[in-house]
Amino acid sequence: MTNRVGIVIVSHSPDIAKGTADMVHQMVGDEVPLAWTGGNAAGGLGTDVNRIISAIDAAWSERGVAVLVDLGGAETNSEMAIEMLPPERGDRVVVCNAPVVEGAIMAATEAWGGADLTAVRRAAEEAGSA
């Protein structure tokens, strides 16, 4: 299972993050490492760096992890989270510039097919321009 790129979904809303993960899971089953996080440390809408770090750890793959985010804070908090990882891990995690639902599904199907991190990210980002 860990020979596939992992996917992390980060939304301000836990409902959106979980719902997106459900849709991804329906497409690729358990064969792609997948984790989601949503909401801030106080349980409201927002994102939380420590939870993002935990999600990356949960979806960790030696081939890297692609992170799908929704709005501004999810992106900046994900970037902070990546910088706070040990460097040997941080170098293998990317934030995709893609819509969270379409991007996650495109990225996960690409990862399921065995693509590397660069190709997974490209697939996600092409979902935004399709």
Binding site: A41, L45, G72, T76, N77, E79
Partner: protein
């Protein structure tokens, strides 16, 4: 009138007691203003800026004993970590990046104000937000304040300058941050992030100016 400026922010000029007063005063100022900040954010954003910043400042207040004895640069970084772990909104990573970068670049010795560290912190916030001046964000306060620090403006002048810079975000069109979704409707309202940062600077610079006057 004593004009000792902010050039000697190095300890022991900022001793433990003054550092604690700075931390407490800045945090309480933001906590007291949190409803106003959320109200500004309700107008042009998602309405959670005040509560997010409040949570961050409560974390800083609660954790201050852990940072007060650290070297100043490390203390600033520790505050950055407390903010990033607690705020949860878009301003969390931006404000935290400022503290982390300032702390990381703070020299271990010397009595001159490390203007390079302030410049590095500003550039890091710009990079983190992929933003620059004129986009109706906290950068519109941080940039002129950084310039003023570099040019040696006295502490007692900094608060006014920061407030005027926040005020100047009102007529701006937001092109970054949540307010950018509003387009023209963002015009006429102060950016909440700019307001927060101005309040923090006004509070800190005001306290430092008073401390300087006492020492002079």
């Amino acid at each position: 009138m004593p004009t000792l400026d902010c050039r000697t922010l190095e300890r022991p000029v900022i001793d433990r007691q003054l550092f604690e007063r700075l931390v407490v005063a800045v945090a309480r100022r933001i906590i007291a203003a949190s409803d106003t900040l959320s109200e500004l954010d309700r107008t042009i954003g998602d309405g959670d800026h005040g509560i997010n910043m409040r949570r961050g400042m409560e974390a800083v207040l609660a954790g201050r004993e852990m940072v007060l004895d650290l070297a100043f640069g490390q203390a600033l970084q520790a505050i950055g970590h407390q903010i990033v772990g607690s705020v949860g909104g878009a301003s969390g990573p931006l404000v935290a990046t400022w503290f982390l970068t300032l702390g990381r670049n703070w020299p271990q010795s010397g009595t001159d104000l490390p203007i390079d560290a302030f410049e590095a912190a500003l550039q890091a916030v710009k990079a983190r937000g992929r933003s620059d001046v004129g986009q109706k964000t906290l950068i519109d306060v941080l940039a002129p304040v950084t310039e003023a620090i570099k040019s040696g403006l006295a502490c007692r002048e900094l608060g006014g300058l920061a407030n005027r810079a926040a005020e100047a975000t009102k007529p701006m069109l937001a092109t970054r941050g949540r307010a950018a979704f509003l387009g023209d409707r963002s015009i006429g309202h102060m950016d909440p992030g700019a307001c927060s940062v101005a309040l923090m600077i006004e509070t800190a610079a005001g306290l430092l100016a008073k401390a300087e006057e006492r020492m002079a």
